[in-house]
């Protein structure tokens, strides 16, 4: 059972591939973070999964169906696009009414509870809401439709730190209560470290790594020692990046096994370090793909 399965998925705009060779398996019940530089293909992947874009190559299956293939499929997937789009001319109450009319599984009690708790005035026009309130309203619509999978594109980018924390708290509560799966893109790796249990790093339209967050932290090491050729490293140590001075070598490796070579001083990396290593060394090695558990 997967909530999202992609095989060789690609999307081309004219001559440029925005996403290519994307193979992923995401199992239900997880919160998956999607990181990468601007233009790496994050929004393209989310748009395809939501059914807003047709892929050019490969296949994708979301909650057991083809994205956007019909009302039943649409009901299973919630999608909040970048900048939390809402209808400026409609009131908060109108948005809830719209949500109730358009979504067969709409949970009206949940929607009204949330609006009350967040402190939104139902009569307020959405155009007058602050960035944080708009994001919360969009999240309310996304959660109240009771999807199996919620896709969020940069949901917290425009929010101040307090609004961001509140948003993530609410999102995590919804995950705990309703057991929904989430895939969200963000540049804020420290936020993702708290809320995600899986991470996908997209660079140059390709998946560089897709992995459990704990495993990502446990298997990446920074090795510092006297200068040496990285080709002499054991085969089970995948080199992510290497830097040399005339006397010293610093390498970041991915290795399941502990580093036992006494020549190296072994340092641990934060999630942000690991992500940056992958983002700044886009072609150092072939992509490491594996099934997300």
């Amino acid at each position: 059972m997967t909530v999202l399965r992609a095989q060789g998925l690609g999307k081309r705009y004219k001559r440029k591939w925005a996403l290519s060779g994307c193979t992923l398996d995401i199992e239900p019940g997880h919160v998956t973070g999607l990181v990468g530089p601007n233009g790496a293909g994050k929004s393209t992947l989310l748009n395809i999964a939501a059914g807003m874009l047709e892929p050019t190559a490969g296949t994708i299956e979301v909650c057991g169906g083809v994205p956007g293939s019909g009302p039943a499929q649409l009901a299973k997937v919630g999608y909040v696009a970048q900048d939390s789009p809402v209808y400026k001319g409609l009131s908060v109450e109108d948005h809830l009414r719209l949500g109730a009319r358009l979504n067969p599984g709409w949970d009206d009690g949940l929607a009204h509870d949330r609006v009350r708790r967040i402190g939104l005035d139902p009569k307020q026009h959405a155009g007058k809401l602050s960035g944080g309130q708009r994001a919360q309203l969009a999240l309310t619509l996304g959660i109240a439709k009771r999807p199996e999978l919620l896709l969020l594109d940069e949901p917290v980018a425009a929010l101040d730190p307090l609004a961001r924390r509140e948003f993530l708290r609410d999102l995590m509560s919804a995950v705990a209560e309703h057991g929904l799966s989430v895939v969200m893109s963000s540049h804020l790796v420290t936020d993702l470290e708290r809320v995600c249990d899986q991470l996908i790093v997209l660079v140059d339209s390709q998946v560089r790594i897709a992995c459990d967050v704990e495993e990502l932290l446990a298997t990446h090491h920074r090795l510092t020692g006297p200068r040496r050729d990285v080709d002499s490293l054991p085969a089970d140590q995948q080199v992510i990046s290497a830097r040399h001075t005339d006397r010293q070598t610093t390498v970041v490796v991915r290795s399941e096994a502990p580093i036992l070579d006494p020549v190296w001083t072994v340092g641990e990396l934060t999630l942000e370090d690991v992500v940056l290593e992958y983002m700044s060394n886009p072609t150092a090695t072939r992509p490491a793909l594996e099934v997300l558990r």
């Binding site: 995950v175 705990a176 209560e177 708290r194 809320v195 036992l260 006494p262």
Partner: protein, 130 residues
């Protein structure tokens, strides 16, 4: 009831921090047998972290025999951590003090002593893993 917090600069993952905080509370006597750990949904709502992280931490504590989950009720402390028996601490400290004196006499400064201690400690921990 204890309250969890997360330290972004601790170098430990959120799940390890939760486990560590429970163990500390047990050692310090802040948690006693029969006490309830915070409910998963409350931890999630306070810290804005993934519920799976909390579940994983609780599972590890359960595996260590420190807590027990009662389905539908919550997770409760089953055993306490007294730490090493106090009787053993005194002699160990004496030995360590003697070693420190030796190290200073050999000309090592504080920083060198700490570096030697840490690298030996890490090395022996790693040998145990391997």
């Amino acid at each position: 009831m204890i309250e969890f917090h997360l330290d972004g600069r601790s170098g430990l993952s959120p799940y390890q921090q939760l486990v560590q905080q429970v163990r500390h509370a047990l050692r310090l006597g802040l948690l006693a047998e029969g006490d309830q750990l915070p409910k998963v949904k409350d931890v999630v709502a306070v810290l804005a972290i993934n519920p799976n992280t909390v579940l994983k931490a609780y599972r590890e504590l359960e595996h260590d025999g420190l807590v027990a989950a009662r389905p539908g009720v919550g997770t409760f402390v089953k055993a306490t951590l007294g730490g090493a028996p106090n009787a053993a601490l005194g002699p160990l400290r004496q030995e360590l003090l003697r070693w420190l004196t030796k190290a200073r006499r050999a000309g090592l400064d504080e920083e060198s002593i700490e570096a030697l201690l840490m690298s030996t400690f890490r090395g022996s921990a790693r040998e145990e893993i391997a």
